[in-house]
Amino acid sequence: MVTDNLVVTNADFGQFSVVAPVDRRLPGGGGYPVAGLYDVNPAFGGQSNTLATFADLLPTAPLQYQRYNGFTLDVSARPRNGLLFQGGINSGKTVTDNCAVRTLVPEISPLNPYCHSEPGFLTRWTGLMSYTIPRVDISISGTIRSDQGAALQANWSAPLSAIAPSLGRVLSANQQFASINLIAPGDVWGDRVNELDLRVGKVLRFGRVRTTVGFDVYNVLNSAAVLTYNQAFVPGGAWLAPLSVLTPRFAKIGVQVGF
């Protein structure tokens, strides 16, 4: 779907580029150009008459696509009585492209130049195991997973002084800043999240009543993988400072009574 602002055409947009600030945390230390940015002509600033339509109904029917190539391997096994294993791996890459649409309808994302996204292969694997020791009715189980971290951004509030030389005018609607992501999707990734959880349980039977007492330990490895980051980029500032990390190792006791 494309939301087309019928008030404007692509000829009503000015194109500009900015130079990323020099910062050693940026790819290549920064100082590179970020091109393909748009700003609507000030005469049309704030005007809209939108039409939500399909891309192939636009003039020239521009191509946009999302393609996924990958594989999944799932294994489910009961190699012996009481032992169960389930797990697998998924790896693949998603390529998206809406550059042709954006060229025709820049208003869909004027400040996001990464219309062709190819972040590479993302791999995720999980495992789950359970074993009940016969006769004593004690179950031992565990789960493990390894998740790809999130693709990160460097959202820089580019000042007018960095934009005007390229744009040749001020921004529409008298804006003094434009928020521009300085890194392409997949250039910088968050921490991989690895988590191992274990559980030991004992089944007690009293006639029809079945009671299970379990002792769980979560995040056995006490991983401190960062989950969310400060993605607002300020040169020399707190860009990518962790905002939240994985819950630390903790234990839990639980009782389930069933009849």
């Binding site: 996924y68 990958g70 697998g88 009940t132 189980s141 299970t212 960062v226 990390v245 009782v255 069933g258």
Partner: protein, 223 residues
């Protein structure tokens, strides 16, 4: 009138000699084999998690925690990847697809929001009392709005008997560690990650062939 009887009466006997010679008859029968039009392959991929597994695995006993155990399911990054101390809602999808197209169903009936409106639900199902949970990773047909992924909770059915369960869990304060290490500090983590002290009570009573009463009371103390 000419009749059948008069015709028989006037007929003269007829004697005929017939000679028959036996001869070997040879015939060629060609049997050709052709693959029947039966599609023995399918893109449908399902994973079944049994009730035994659901109760023994160290998870928050919620459908959302299960999605973390299916390799081809994805959740949006960030806090969704955290450990589920208590059941929470997450939005899930399949690898390569839209992030929020995962569907949650109970015995085949969708209970989630519309696609684009969340996809999943804040409803906390008592999966530990389910018969099984079936996840369809891909290749689903008309049973759901998407061909995958979907997570179907199959409730228990059976005879005329009462079933019930109660689950109580807790995390005492001293059982929580810390991962606010020097390394974490050096990365600029603004404060020590507080301890989660969680308590939860879930109960369910039902006659096996009828709908029952379920309840969940989970809360996390601290942040």
């Amino acid at each position: 009138m000419y009749s059948h009887r008069s015709r028989r009466r006037n007929a003269s006997p007829l004697t005929a000699c017939l000679g028959a010679k036996s001869r070997l008859i040879a015939a060629t029968i060609t049997v050709s084999g052709e693959t029947p039009v039966v599609d023995v392959t399918s893109t449908k991929r399902q994973t079944t998690l049994s009730s035994e597994l659901l109760t023994t695995a160290p998870t928050a006993r919620s459908w959302a925690a299960l999605t973390a155990q299916i390799p081809s399911m994805t959740t949006s990054g960030g806090n969704n990847q955290d450990i589920q101390v208590t059941p929470q809602m997450i939005v899930f999808g399949g690898a390569g697809g839209r992030g929020g197209e995962g569907r949650l169903t109970v015995d085949g009936i969708t209970i989630g929001s519309t696609i684009g409106g969340g996809g999943s639900t804040a409803y906390i199902l008592d999966i530990s009392n389910a018969e099984e949970v079936v996840t369809t990773n891909s290749g689903g047909l008309g049973e759901s709005e998407v061909n995958g992924p979907s997570l179907n909770v199959v409730p228990r059915t059976g005879g005329n008997s009462f079933k019930g369960s109660a689950y109580l869990s807790g995390v005492p304060p001293g059982w929580v560690g810390s991962n606010y290490t020097r390394c974490t500090q050096g990365r600029g983590t603004p404060h020590a990650r507080g301890a989660h002290q969680a308590m939860g009570l879930r109960y369910g009573v039902r006659r096996a062939d009828q709908a029952g009463v379920d309840g969940v009371s989970d809360r996390a103390i601290g942040a």
